[in-house]
């Protein structure tokens, strides 16, 4: 029920947002504020782009870590990676997320991941890898901005940064090199999972945003008559 309620709220929120924006839309001129639709679409594309980037980066980085991390069927237990936000979630729970929560979770997750990634960046050795990591970080930064933009377009406040998360990666005192690599491995894996999830999240949001766009079109046609 909660989930449905959340869904309904989301829809209502969307409808409200659209209705709120409708008066602002000039009847025959759509050059004004395009609404969150394009932003959502762009964010979705960005997640796809980051996914593509990460695929290349992960390959390079796992090779840098060496075996067994670069083996295709390497699937270690998730040890010492509890600080990383989990992307995996129950499907029902995921479906029941409202837009705000969904966006907030994404924003928070990427904020955390970005902090971890920057720590990873600091330790990386190869210059080319460092550049790739830096670019990926920048892109992730862009994704955060993009999500923030969508949230702003939808009227949601940005979540407050968690205290202690901002200093980013604090290397644990008892971390061995292997465990460190394990953390790196899980960081990349979690990033990938989050990007997949985000793609679905924004696809879902995108689809949600389309009916109001149709309504606008209908409205325009009615106005035209």
């Amino acid at each position: 029920m909660d989930l449905r309620a959340g869904d309904s709220w989301g829809i209502i929120a969307c409808l409200c947002t659209v209705l709120w924006h409708l008066p602002a839309v000039p009847a025959l001129n759509r050059t004004g504020d395009p609404g969150p639709g394009p932003s959502i679409q762009k964010t979705y594309d960005l997640t796809r782009y980051l996914e593509h980037q990460l695929r290349t980066l992960a390959g390079t980085y796992l090779n840098y870590l060496g075996p067994p991390f670069n083996e295709p069927d390497f699937n270690p237990p998730r040890l010492g990676a509890e600080t990383l936000p989990r992307a995996t979630v129950n499907l029902e729970v995921w479906r029941s997320l409202n837009d705000k929560l969904r966006l907030t979770q994404n924003y928070e997750a990427y904020s955390h991941l970005l902090c971890h990634l920057r720590g990873l960046n600091r330790q990386a050795a190869a210059a080319e890898l460092r550049r790739s990591l830096a670019h990926f970080c920048t892109s992730l930064q862009g994704l955060l901005g993009s999500i923030a933009g969508v949230m702003a377009a939808l009227g949601y406040p940005l979540p407050q940064p968690l205290p202690g998360a901002e200093p980013a990666w604090a290397p644990g005192p008892a971390h061995s090199d292997f465990l460190q690599k394990m953390d790196d491995f899980w960081l990349l894996k979690e990033l990938q999972t989050w990007l997949w999830r985000s793609a679905k999240d924004f696809n879902r949001l995108k689809k949600k945003m389309q009916p109001p766009a149709a309504a606008v079109t209908l409205h325009l046609e009615a106005h035209g008559f």
Binding site: T43, L46, Y49, Q141, G142, L143, L144, G145, G149
Partner: protein
């Protein structure tokens, strides 16, 4: 010593240098502003402030300051004294980019001293950069470019700035050598809007371009698709399938494509309609291609919504479509090689190989079927494009198909008419003309429906035979171009034959050039006839090989050696021309040029000279002159003839002709002489008188015995009777030409009427009855060489007989009578032989003692009555008389003439 001086010199130099350096380091004043940069055309005010210490030392004031720009003093009206130590200058409208401005003072003694100097730079503030645009090549960094605007003449920095809504990126400084573009040093993040702008800044200002906000993905130029390959389909000969690998950007971006193709060797590309390739894909099937043709493909891509840039073209890939059956029947024609003879004729069937786009594959062979009437006569399978057949005179029909690996073409049908077929219905208004580097042929169709047209053409040449090429056109075509390789400047003989269902029509022919040129040789002109004032020139037509075009006209240039050239245009149909109004007796130089549409060519020069007189002019003068001369001569002759007596009287005095003198005819009846000698009888037929003439020559001393004998007889007879002679002896009028009666010592001789007789005619008879004493004439006084030698040739030595004659001269040749040796019927005596020689007569040798009887006879000249009777009676004498006129020597005085004395 020199080393020491050098050392001292160095010290002095150092001291001076330090001192001057000190002055430089501590100048007497300063200029504000220190390094002014001013806009071009603006005013600059600079202030020079003097140090008080200096003013005291040099005893100068602010009023003593003066300024120089580039070593030229600035007029004082631009100065202003601000206070006791400072003065300013205002430079208005600076137009120079760089000016050296110095502040100077004039000390005592008019010594100018530089106080301070600055470098004034002029330029322009930067303009706002325009047309900012950025491009993001896939996998590379973003590059933006812009228009810098006007030249500022100053060092201007352009900075490309970029930022997100939440973050700012590092500035990109344009390099000095390329101030209008910059490549950022970070990889752009797609799908996040970026704001970029350009700032231009120099000493005079700063300008910022408009901000450009875009998603870098909308400025992407993707990498081109790669690994393009082409594959054909066995089932469809008109399609080829392209496959390629997309650039990696397709993993997050959709693409559209641009596919182009062309046949191998062609230059123009054909584009696949863009709407067919507007979505991301990695393969495409191209349709409607020609069978059995190699095609070349290339492909490029860009973002599907059209934002961004097209990628570069992929590498080209080629593929060949599969074969298909020939799409068209070959062109089909025939030639009669040998006309009908002995019931058979030879016909060569010709056809053209199909062009690749119609053959649709490799042609394996051709099949020819020959029909007579409705029945197929024979089938032939030929690899060549010709087939020679021996046919009867009937009408035949031939069909031709081409075969390739897939199938056969449609059949081409050709009707070979019977031998007695008369071709009619030609095309009309046939013309050929060059256009667009091709030779076009145009005609008007005949009224009847035409199956096809056959065009044949060949190069018209005197050197090579006409080897025709041909092509076939559909019956609906009325204008086409010749498909073969044609040469310029060659005359093409083009024949168009319409082909009807029942056979070919009448061919029509025309000539054309693909491109004309001036003739390669000019015509050789020569004269056919040259008159006094005109000349007929003639030339041969140029051979078709050197014409290089249609000869439109000839031009004849002629001139005298000194005169201007005259040109005459002549129609090309002529081969001669008459130049008139020429000057006589003048050398003319003439040459001739032939012109085609493209120009002309001169032939060799020919010279000729006009004669001084026209033909017949000389004759017209000479003939009348000759005629006149002749007439005058004739008239003169006539006149002389008419007046010959008068002239004769003046020129030739009347010399009595001794031959016409008659001594006398005193013995009218001379006894017959037939008893004398048989020899005389023999000569009686001729007109030989009794006078025998003996030629006495040096080498011929032998007298003619018979003659002499007769003479001898004669003499004896005379001597026995009364030998008489013309009155020579004692005549004193020998030289008188007039008849006169000369006195004579002898009365007897006086009776003879002969006068001025130089010699005697000895006539026997006469007074033969008389017997004058022979002694009385023992010696003749005549100077004439009378027939003394005849009298006594044997007794008279030649030297005596020819006494007084010049040696070697025949003494009696001219006066002698007919020679006895020549006596006979065939030797008439000619008068010319006896031309008188008056000069020789007087000194004629005297008779000496040769003819005493004769002289005696002469002296005893007969009476007047005597001779008549004598002549009548004596036949020989009669003959003698008749012969007398012809003989000069024995001049006889005719009756009525002069009588010898």
């Amino acid at each position: 010593m020199p080393a020491r001086w050098t050392w001292t010199g160095r010290v002095l130099f150092l001291l001076l240098a330090v001192e001057s350096l000190g002055e430089l380091l501590d100048p007497c004043g300063s200029i504000v502003p220190e390094a002014p940069v001013v806009p071009l055309g603006a005013n600059l005010t600079a202030v020079c402030v003097l140090k008080e210490q200096c003013m005291r030392d040099l005893h100068v004031r602010a009023e003593d300051i003066f300024w120089r720009t580039n070593h030229v003093a600035v007029p004082r009206r631009q100065y202003a004294v601000l206070n006791s130590t400072a003065a300013s200058v205002t430079l208005a409208g600076l137009s120079l980019l760089s000016v050296q401005l110095t502040c100077n003072v004039r000390t005592f003694g008019q010594l100018d001293q530089n106080v301070y100097g600055v470098h004034v730079t002029a330029g322009l503030p930067p303009e706002k950069p325009e047309n900012l645009s950025c491009i993001v090549p896939e996998g590379k960094r973003m590059t933006c470019q812009w228009d810098a605007g006007r030249e500022t003449h100053l060092e201007t920095n352009f900075t490309l700035k970029s930022e997100w809504a939440t973050e700012r990126f590092a500035d990109c400084r344009a390099r000095r050598e390329a101030p209008t573009s910059c490549t950022v040093d970070y990889s752009p993040v797609y799908f996040v809007n970026l704001e970029v702008w350009v700032e231009a800044e120099n000493a005079l200002g700063r300008a910022v371009s408009a901000h450009l906000n875009f998603d870098p993905v909308d400025k992407v130029r993707p990498n081109p698709p790669h690994n393009l390959s082409v594959s054909s389909s066995e089932e469809l000969s008109s399609i080829l399938k392209l496959t390629w690998v997309n650039p990696s950007i397709t993993s997050f971006m959709r693409l559209k494509y641009d596919i182009q193709y062309r046949t191998r060797g062609a230059s123009a590309w054909t584009q696949i309609p863009p709407e067919d390739t507007a979505s991301t894909r990695s393969s495409f099937t191209v349709q409607d291609l020609r069978p059995f043709t190699e095609h070349v493909f290339r492909v490029r891509c860009m973002k599907d919504d059209g934002r961004g840039y097209w990628s570069a073209w992929s590498e080209e890939a080629s593929g060949t479509t599969c074969e298909d059956r020939p799409s068209k029947a070959p062109s089909f024609w025939y030639k009669t090689e040998q006309p009908l003879a002995h019931g058979s004729r030879s016909v060569r069937l010709l056809w053209k190989t199909l062009p690749p786009f119609e053959a649709n594959g490799r042609i394996l062979d051709y099949e020819v079927t020959l029909w007579r009437g409705k029945a197929a006569v024979q089938n032939y399978t030929v690899n060549d494009t010709r087939l020679t057949l021996n046919l009867t005179g009937d009408r035949y029909r031939a069909t031709l198909t081409a075969r390739n690996g897939v199938g056969r073409s449609d059949a081409a049908t050709l009707t070979i008419p019977a031998c007695d077929f008369q071709a009619t219905r030609p095309v009309r208004d046939l013309k050929a003309f060059p256009k667009d580097d091709m030779l076009w042929v145009e005609w008007t169709a005949p009224g009847q429906p035409v199956t096809s047209y056959i065009l044949e053409w060949c190069v018209l040449s005197d050197r090579a035979p006409c080897v025709p090429d041909w092509q076939q056109e559909a019956g609906t075509v009325h204008c086409t171009f010749l498909t073969g390789t044609l040469e310029e400047s060659k005359c093409y003989l083009i024949t168009v034959t319409p082909v009807y269902v029942d056979g070919p029509g009448l061919p029509q022919t025309t000539q054309a050039y693909l491109k004309q040129a001036p003739p390669s040789k000019g015509p050789t002109v020569r004269t056919k006839k040259v008159g006094k004032n005109e000349a007929v020139l003639e030339w041969d037509r140029l051979p078709v090989d050197v014409q290089n075009g249609f000869i439109r006209n000839y031009t004849i240039f002629y001139k005298t050696s000194a005169g201007n050239e005259t040109a005459v245009h002549v129609d090309p149909s002529h081969t001669d021309y008459t130049l008139s109004s020429l000057t006589s007796d003048t050398l003319y130089m003439v040459r001739m040029a032939a012109y085609t549409d493209e120009g002309g060519k001169d032939g060799p020069e020919f010279t000729f000279t006009t004669p001084k007189f026209a033909q017949g002019e000389i004759e017209a003068i000479v003939v009348p002159v000759c005629l006149a001369f002749l007439l005058v001569t004739l008239l003169g002759v006539l006149f002389c003839f008419n007046k010959r007596d008068l002239i004769k009287k003046h020129i030739w005095p009347n010399v009595p002709d001794p031959s016409k003198s008659h001594i006398a005819q005193w013995s009218p009846h001379t006894p017959p002489r037939h008893n004398f000698s048989s020899k005389e009888q023999m000569c009686s037929d001729s007109s030989v008188t009794d006078v025998s003439i003996v030629e006495i020559e040096a080498g011929d001393r032998k007298p003619l015995p018979e003659d002499l004998k007769s003479l001898d007889l004669f003499r004896k007879d005379k001597a026995s009777t009364e030998g008489h002679s013309s009155g020579i002896g004692g005549s004193s009028c020998l030289s008188s030409s007039r008849p006169s009666i000369c006195s004579s010592e002898d009365s007897e001789s006086a009776r003879s009427t002969a006068s001025a007789v130089q010699y005697s005619t000895v006539v026997h008879g006469g007074y033969r009855h008389q017997a004058p004493p022979a002694q009385a004439f023992s010696r003749s006084e005549s100077t004439q060489p009378l027939l003394d030698s005849e009298e006594r040739p044997e007794e008279l030595p030649l030297s005596d007989a020819l006494d007084g004659l010049p040696p070697g001269q025949p003494p009696f040749q001219q006066s002698g009578g007919p020679r006895l040796s020549g006596c006979g019927p065939g030797s008439p005596v000619r008068e010319e032989d006896f031309l008188p020689d008056p000069a020789a007569q007087p000194p004629a040798c005297g008779l000496g003692k040769a003819f005493p009887e004769a002289l005696a006879a002469g002296a005893l000249g007969p009476g007047l009555e005597g001779p008549i009777g004598g002549l009548e009676a004596v036949g020989v004498e009669a003959e003698l008389d008749e012969g007398l006129p012809k003989s000069y020597l024995p001049q006889t005085v005719r009756r009525g003439g002069y009588m010898p004395q």
